[in-house]
Symmetry: C2
Amino acid sequence: MQQEMSFLKLLNVPKIRDIKINSDFWNRYINLIKEVVVPYQWDILNDKVDGVEKSSAIRNFKIAAGLEQGDFYGMVFQDSDVYKWLEAASYVLESHYDEELDRKINEVIDLIEKAQWDDGYINTYFTIKEPQNRWTNLQECHELYCAGHLIEAAVAYYNATGNDRLLNIAKKFVDHINSIFGPEEGKLKGYPGHQEIELALIKLYEVTKEEGYLNLARYFIEERGKDPYYFDLEWEKRGRTEHWPGLIRNFGREYAQTHLPVRKQREAVGHAVRATYMYSAMADIARITKDEELLDTCKALFKDIVTRKMYITGGIGASAYAESFSFEYDLPNDRAYAETCASVGLIFFAHRMFLIEQSSHYYDIIEQTLYNNIIASMSLDGRSYFYVNPLEVVPRACEKRHDTQHVKVPRQRWFGCACCPPNVARLLSSIGKYVYAHSANELYVNLYISNEYELNMNGDEVKIYINSEYPFGDNVFIKIDTKKPVYFDLKLRIPKWCESFKVYINDREEGKIVKEKGYIVLSRIWNGNDEILLKLTTLPKKIRSHPRVRDNIGKITIMKGPILYCLEEADNGPNLHELFISKDSKLELKFEPEILNGLYVIYADGFRIDEEDFGDELYRDEYEYKLLPVKLKFIPYYAWANRGKGEMRVWISEIR
Amino acid sequence: MQQEMSFLKLLNVPKIRDIKINSDFWNRYINLIKEVVVPYQWDILNDKVDGVEKSSAIRNFKIAAGLEQGDFYGMVFQDSDVYKWLEAASYVLESHYDEELDRKINEVIDLIEKAQWDDGYINTYFTIKEPQNRWTNLQECHELYCAGHLIEAAVAYYNATGNDRLLNIAKKFVDHINSIFGPEEGKLKGYPGHQEIELALIKLYEVTKEEGYLNLARYFIEERGKDPYYFDLEWEKRGRTEHWPGLIRNFGREYAQTHLPVRKQREAVGHAVRATYMYSAMADIARITKDEELLDTCKALFKDIVTRKMYITGGIGASAYAESFSFEYDLPNDRAYAETCASVGLIFFAHRMFLIEQSSHYYDIIEQTLYNNIIASMSLDGRSYFYVNPLEVVPRACEKRHDTQHVKVPRQRWFGCACCPPNVARLLSSIGKYVYAHSANELYVNLYISNEYELNMNGDEVKIYINSEYPFGDNVFIKIDTKKPVYFDLKLRIPKWCESFKVYINDREEGKIVKEKGYIVLSRIWNGNDEILLKLTTLPKKIRSHPRVRDNIGKITIMKGPILYCLEEADNGPNLHELFISKDSKLELKFEPEILNGLYVIYADGFRIDEEDFGDELYRDEYEYKLLPVKLKFIPYYAWANRGKGEMRVWISEIR
């Protein structure tokens, strides 16, 4: 019953144009995206940056469009870098219109238009390299994946500007795809090797309301994992050739979640980005089609991730091999993959689950992922990125050990497979969409990011202002402006890391507070100009992981609200594993303006093993380490690796 | 001065024929080698065992000899399996002559003889596959490595029987090698990709006293690592072809210790088997040629291994990638490679160092390696083997994680690269050689393995009997029989794990005991029939590793004498990482006759984390694990993995 009701609730999320972020903390990132990342990535896509991996992504379009001579360069999915840039640039445009940027975008749209085949097909790799082999290798060759990113870009640009040029290009491509794939006789019974188009088609459906797009998304989802196995059929058909010989096909069926029909999947397995993109589409379909069974599958998968397979950073994918989930509670800190894109996907999935079931649990995961894995993936200057986000780094081991060589420290300027930086760019440039959600008579406040937002509640104009100290300070000031009295439920999320909270409305403390699925419900007539003070007390706390997590036994980490802390060599010297935190240590939060433009650091009492006392032997019997007292200095995880190459450690040994 | 003196000491080690092992513990292994391993490996070499990796090693010789038609099968170094079997079989023959076994050996010698080219060359791979390419790919193709094993087998068979058939074949081959390699103009300036022939040539020198063999060994050692780089020169010369494309050459120069001239090497790097075989030859050369500088290099390398790169099992090689050493103190337990052959090599190296410097330190390493890594590599029934010897196993992780997939549990019956089982066979069947060493007036007792041994001390016949309870019990009874009074120093090794010791001669406790480099020196006239009781008290002890070893922080392990202990799932349930040993727990040693035919187990008090109390969340704040008291049961590491597939753990968390 509860579930059916939730299906009935239609929630809107803010349009980027309608929300203005006023948070210094977040505007630093957003401005970096706008002023550094989007222009920098533009230059990279155009091969104008020296000393980074060559992209050629724009050039590929020029060649495919017949404007230049040359060969395709890059990954088979190189086009998606352009599309993800277009999406991010569109979000930037939506919040801050910029003629020059719009001109660049249209320059790219021109290219895409010219690269589009008469039948609607677009893909520069196949156009240039293997025009005769279109749609013959869905497992490895990402045509549908790239199409998905094109659709997402088109929807974003349309939403940003109302200009439907790119949207029409995308629709024409989708019409073509619809003519190739589907249950009808003569059509291919295929589905993408890398899921992405499914959630994109739903976006296209939501902006156009044309059911065909939804149905195509459902088709791809429902066909997946059926017998006979499509990827074997197409492989036989094309003469058993492989695009990446011995690679993708060797990863097994779990890799792209084709091991079981999608509805039968209860455990998150395989490539973590593919997984979360697919789960996101499944959640969308469950919501739109009110599909209880599919929702149940989504819930099982979400639970499997967040209670058994998620690093405390919000990182997922514990195995570099196949960039995949490994098995439950297997979360090694030094060998983590925790790809940035996978965390982006986890946020997508959690957000869609929230749109079905308004439980604050989903936003706890979003917040945790956002404040840690996501923003840590970018350097504080916006110019370098982590693809892999470890929780423990010993640079020597990354250089010397093959099994940690995927961990690159410090961040890289660009990647041969450049999926992550533009993925973060599109997430952060659209962060406003995640702050609120509202139905006709409810307004959910999900993230306490300072902002102002204009919305329409059941016909009435409402303006909400948030001025937030959270998560470093306690106070969140909320102002609700209405032109006339308006009745609605203001639902304020109480993050799970809150020690306690208090609510004051117009300076009067609320006594009896209704709490529902993690939200305070303030049901009242908002009377023109109400002021709310929400006090969210989050103390620095020691966290322990489930005992099944082998790598974290005897260790703790520290969080202050959603902010995870870590030790860095820059503050604590090398050999961080030789440090212990005292069980009874206080955790002293302190703002230090001089460190990395200002950070809330945490001090704690601890010890360092005296190496000299141990001596030169490798093993000693009946020996007790001599411990030297030290003051430990923790910095937020999001700020690590901004002071050169050095060790970092999230989980630290504890001692009585 | 000290060093020069040690060079002057000429030590003999027992001939296998002269020593009779009476230890039940060791005879179990020795009889397994004789009755199971050697016959079983014979069947495997002859492809008579179903369900194991095909060998074809004997068949390759038949084909090369022109006796059968067919193609070469197996690794490029497949011949070495035959030679290592021959060596082990010869040791078995030397201690227990067996006509049938001798007949089989001669059958193989016939084949080798027929496979030998007129010019002396022998290698079935090149004979069958690439006769035109002999000596063109030393880096990858193991011709000199195989030659080395042939020489070792030949020396072993000659020592066992006095029959010089195989020795002459080997000498003819070496004459050929001598005509190909060397400083003279027109000869190749090469050296083996996998070291082995160097130490073999020294054995050949020691049995023949022909200096040419020693000089060739020295040539290979001294040429190694020089510029220009031979492996690049030969690669260019053969048109840049690779036997293992993208593999060996990608491992870099450290892989085969060609990164520096050998004398300049101070750190143990690269492939651990190659390294220890080379260091063994270097030690031999240092000893024989009284080369101070080379000895100093050997000492630095030995120290680097045992104080920075050796697992407590005596396993070496912390990286599966390139089967190599990684860097100092990098000793992950679950990702250990610790190849059985590398530990065999470490024993070779340590033994040769002892022959130069009679310090008990070298025998502590030999004993530690022998009682742990070496015998653990074989199942108690002698029919299955570990190639990789981990110190921590979670079977699920070995199946699911790519970075631990090299860890195979339980033991395998045979391997495609079958180097380890015959290597253990040749070591254990010659174990008697390691028990004693003697000069004209000194008799070193190095391993307390029950035995009787006849030797000649400066012209006098001496018979020594040892009846040892060590290492499980304290008493070592030694009897010295001489026909007439004989003066010599009896030097009894005091293992480093001895808590205390006492010596009684003819029931009288020795008061003032002279100790020299870890040995008790009993200088006296042995008067026909003297009885010595050596009491070596070794208590079960908790061991801690150097704080730099990241994986062992907060953990201890247990040793009783040289015997390392571990926890197994069979005794302690799954999730061994959730167990803690109490800091103040007693370690109770107990003989349990019913477990695996009788084992000394150790009980300790500890705790298990109550998983249920933690609940379903992955992370909890300000939570303290609930600990349930348990009795921990440790078994000797050498006996692990004999009761089905399950977890195992050497290092266990400690709690106050």
